[in-house]
């Protein structure tokens, strides 16, 4: 059998290294979410299955995003701290090849997470709901993994890298809502300099962040899938992944090893 190209070997190594431990953690998260959702469903006086599905979907989405962000950050910091990054680059592997290999490995690990989550959700979802939800979760996890990977080359500590990833995620999920509220009458004094500055700042930020509020919605589990969102999700993932890969590569090439 022909040996794998170096960048593909890095991807395989990433998946195998994390593949041993990550699925167990994902299963533990899924089981915890399942128990919580079943308990909550038993309290509901109506629409128990929908309640369980909605809560489980929201719980899995947030937990897996945070878990993967922490996992990627900690693992990549380990690569740098234990000099495995230097060893990998000492061979015929370019920095770009290394980076793309890691990214591909994490994207595969993200697929595993999304697959487990959508399988757990399937009994609570209508036809096709869990698969669209799972596909969208995969896209979301790829983006958060790519961001975390890029952040590890900018920040030299796990807490700082993780905080940056969590902040990015929360902002990307709430920015749409914040923009709508900002345009509403309760903001008052729409002509005030501070309000106009805040509005302009949020509008500018909206150009730079992906709109994650349209991804992986629990409503697809409760009320059925909305296939119309799929082109947006795939397009946004592709475009933002390109940007994140560029930023990560820039930081990796800038780094002195």
């Amino acid at each position: 059998m022909a040996p794998l190209p170096p960048w593909l070997a890095v991807a395989r190594f990433t998946l195998v290294e994390e593949g041993r431990r990550l699925p167990w953690l994902v299963l533990a998260v899924a089981l915890t979410g399942l128990l919580l959702a079943l308990f909550a469903g038993s309290l509901a006086i109506a629409e128990a299955r929908q309640t369980e599905g909605a809560l489980l979907a929201a719980f899995l989405r947030l937990s897996l995003v945070l878990l993967l962000a922490l996992w990627v950050t900690a693992s990549q910091m380990g690569e740098i701290r234990e000099k495995r990054l230097e060893m990998a680059l000492a061979g015929p592997l370019s920095r770009t090849g290394y980076y793309l290999g890691r990214l591909l490995g994490w994207a595969s690990a993200a697929a595993l997470c999304a697959l487990v989550a959508s399988l757990v959700l399937t009994p609570f979802a209508g036809e096709g709901g869990a698969w669209l939800w799972g596909l969208s979760l995969w896209c979301e996890l790829i983006l958060i993994a790519a961001f975390s990977l890029a952040a590890t080359f900018s920040f030299s500590q796990v807490p700082a890298g993780f905080a940056a990833a969590a902040g990015f995620y929360l902002l990307a999920r709430t920015l749409g809502m914040l923009r709508v509220i900002g345009e509403g009458p309760l903001m008052g004094g729409g002509e005030a300099l501070s309000t106009r500055f805040l509005d302009a700042f949020m509008e500018g930020l909206a150009f730079l962040l992906p709109d994650l509020s349209r991804f992986t919605r629990a409503t697809w589990i409760v009320y059925g899938p909305e296939g119309g969102e799929l082109p947006f999700i795939l397009g946004q993932t592709g475009v933002y992944l390109l940007l994140l890969a560029g930023v990560g590569l820039f930081d990796l090439h800038r780094k002195s090893l």
Partner: protein
């Protein structure tokens, strides 16, 4: 030690990625509130459970969510087209979560009671009246506002008198000018 030079292809990827992201977002329609799809509020016990012991925080987050659903920044369905029965359920749940919170009553009196549909307007004013009795000392300003809306906004002196009568009977910490609106 001088850091290595950035290869040209990396700079191209960053530039292309940034341009694509800005272009992609520019193609998207602005976020729009969707009042039609206001879901039914969860049961009070579920809300308590979901608050993880911080009902005031959850009430405020949910209020923000509710406001984001009904604000309309441009063309499209406005919050006057919302299901007000469901909206009232939401506001009541949020007040139950955080009884000292004023935002649900502010929203009811300043936003929702300001719609042109008299049926929806009356529903909101009656909601404020109903909620007033649970905590007159804190909630009297919104009922006083409701008196004015009923009298001058809706031209319904009977409704205004009923609200003013409640203010008068509540007494206590309500200022005299508000008690004498009748």
């Amino acid at each position: 030690m001088t850091p290595p030079a950035i290869p040209r292809h990396v700079a191209w990827v960053v530039g292309l990625g940034l341009l694509s992201q800005v272009f992609f977002q520019a193609l998207q329609p602005p976020p729009r509130a969707t009042g039609e799809g206001l879901p039914r509020p969860p049961q009070p016990v579920m809300l308590r459970l979901a608050s993880l012991g911080e009902p005031e925080a959850l009430a405020r987050v949910l209020m923000l969510r509710l406001l984001s659903l009904d604000y309309q920044s441009g063309a499209g369905p406005a919050y006057r087209e919302m299901d007000f029965a469901r909206l009232e359920e939401w506001l009541e749940r949020l007040l139950a979560l955080d009884p000292r919170g004023q935002v649900p009553l502010i929203a009811a009196s300043r936003l929702y009671a300001d719609v042109s549909d008299p049926v929806r307007r009356r529903r909101m004013l009656n909601f404020i009246h109903r909620m007033f009795h649970a905590d007159p000392a804190r909630r009297w300003p919104w009922l006083a506002h409701a008196v004015i809306v009923a009298r001058y906004g809706m031209g319904d002196p009977a409704l205004a008198l009923a609200f003013a009568g409640s203010l008068k009977r509540a007494g206590g910490e309500i200022p005299s000018w508000a008690r004498e609106m009748e």
